[in-house]
Symmetry: C2
């Protein structure tokens, strides 16, 4: 019997289960782990809407699942939370510690670093086929590098996600130094190619507002990544304004980049997504 | 200027702050770290009641603070959360990985392993003196080994804590194999001495119910520590019954020993403590 998902662990949580699986990935050519929170409703086999939650640099499939405090309200709302790993790990490659959720075109990264295709063409269909997830009711959320990932994937794949939010996203990967390092390694020196993965460039090129219900972004003002010019929320504001995309950007005094920040506002994000996912 | 507390880190969280400090400890003779969540009310310098939260084997001052999801409701309730480390770490000693929150009498442990005196005679007074904590309104909660710690300290120090609860506590340290190892190392081979730190023995010896408002205990039925006879909630039930101590022991199908279990029920514990702490 073919078992596409290998069970790793399951923890009862708020009437549902926080599960961990791994699977042999066609896209990355490696075993990939992921976490999924299934609310009580899903345990009765009713397909539930799901939120793809993309972690920041160094996050694993367990980070958001353990630290964000999202399961309490997700349980009530009947919302699943999918937490993939942030990069292929079963292979060591020089100088490409951060995936930026893209498909690399340059050797040696191009063989395994196919995070965009992995998420969009493999993980989401797999989860919808194997678990009680409604693949037509998906939202996407991300943190830091995962905030870039959420914005970028939501703009490159129109119609795939119904709702979009981010915590302290890297708004313009092509103009942040950490993004430039990853884009240079994975896509090569042609800076035109980098723009195809830059959330602000993608937004500014939209013919009409892609998320008419609005995008929710929270940003802490004591975030050292913000001070280091890696995040540039003002660039996202400008790009959204250019195409009339509604954006709610909330700036929070004293808050930093960590999970105590995310915890503090995660309920607002879940409400934002639930309103679109029904 | 004498600075008894050395600031380590602070993270804004639900309108309050999750802080980390360290200090030179008189009792352990070592630097000891701790975490403290201060709700918004405390930031306006109004002394707030506090809950001493004792972690399980291998927990640090950060474990409960990051994984329990307690700050959301603690913020609303105006309750501080004090999360000490679980043992002295700045010194290596053989075969005593777990402190059981006691004062060791046997060399080589007796010099530094003074967790009971550290918590009761040093950390709590220090926190009440240096931070906006009301030292007369304290509750205690613990998990696993920390559940033993909470029950044991609450029974050995009458009047210090107004409220008591535990997640999956080691109810009888002297009759669990992991407790026996620690008690043997720290107190020597005399098993009579072990009983002075055994929560069930301490409870059974009470002249009257020490916590007339009741003790709250949650236990997962898929807990591998339960199956391994380390927890023995039935012994706590018997000891409480013997002295008429009200005990609410809730058994939860499918739940294990981890923080997804704690997250799921932490709000009930905070309500339990807030009712006593005012």
């Amino acid at each position: 019997m073919h078992r596409p998902l290998e069970f790793v662990a399951s923890h009862a949580c708020f009437g549902g289960v926080q599960r961990y699986y791994r699977h042999a990935s066609r896209e990355t050519g490696l075993h990939m782990p992921f976490g999924i929170y299934l609310p009580p409703r899903a345990l009765h086999r009713a397909p539930v809407p799901a939120l793809l939650c993309l972690g920041d640099v160094d996050a694993s499939e367990d980070t958001f699942a353990s630290l964000a405090g999202a399961q309490r309200l997700a349980s009530e709302m009947g919302l699943a939370l999918i937490t993939p790993d942030t990069r292929p790990r079963a292979v060591h490659l020089p100088e490409a510690a951060n995936s930026f959720y893209l498909d690399a075109t340059q050797a040696p990264w191009s063989r395994h670093w196919r995070m965009e295709s992995y998420l969009v063409r493999e993980l989401l269909p797999l989860v919808a086929a194997e678990l009680p997830i409604d693949g037509l009711r998906l939202g996407i959320l991300g943190h830091g590098m995962g905030g870039h990932g959420a914005l970028m994937l939501a703009l490159r794949h129109p119609g795939l996600f119904r709702s979009l939010s981010a915590f302290a996203p890297i708004a313009s990967a092509a103009s942040s130094s950490c993004g430039q390092l990853a884009l240079g390694n994975c896509l090569g020196p042609d800076r035109e190619a980098w723009q195809t993965y830059d959330a602000c460039t993608l937004m500014a090129a939209q013919a009409r507002p892609p998320y008419p219900r609005g995008i929710l972004v929270d940003q802490g003002l004591a975030d050292t990544w913000l001070a280091a010019q890696q995040l540039q929320p003002e660039a996202l504001v400008a790009a959204c304004a250019q195409v009339g995309q509604p954006l709610t950007l909330r700036r929070h005094a004293r808050h930093d980049h960590g999970y105590h920040f995310i915890q503090s506002f995660i309920d607002d994000h879940l409400h934002h997504h639930a309103a679109a996912l029904g």
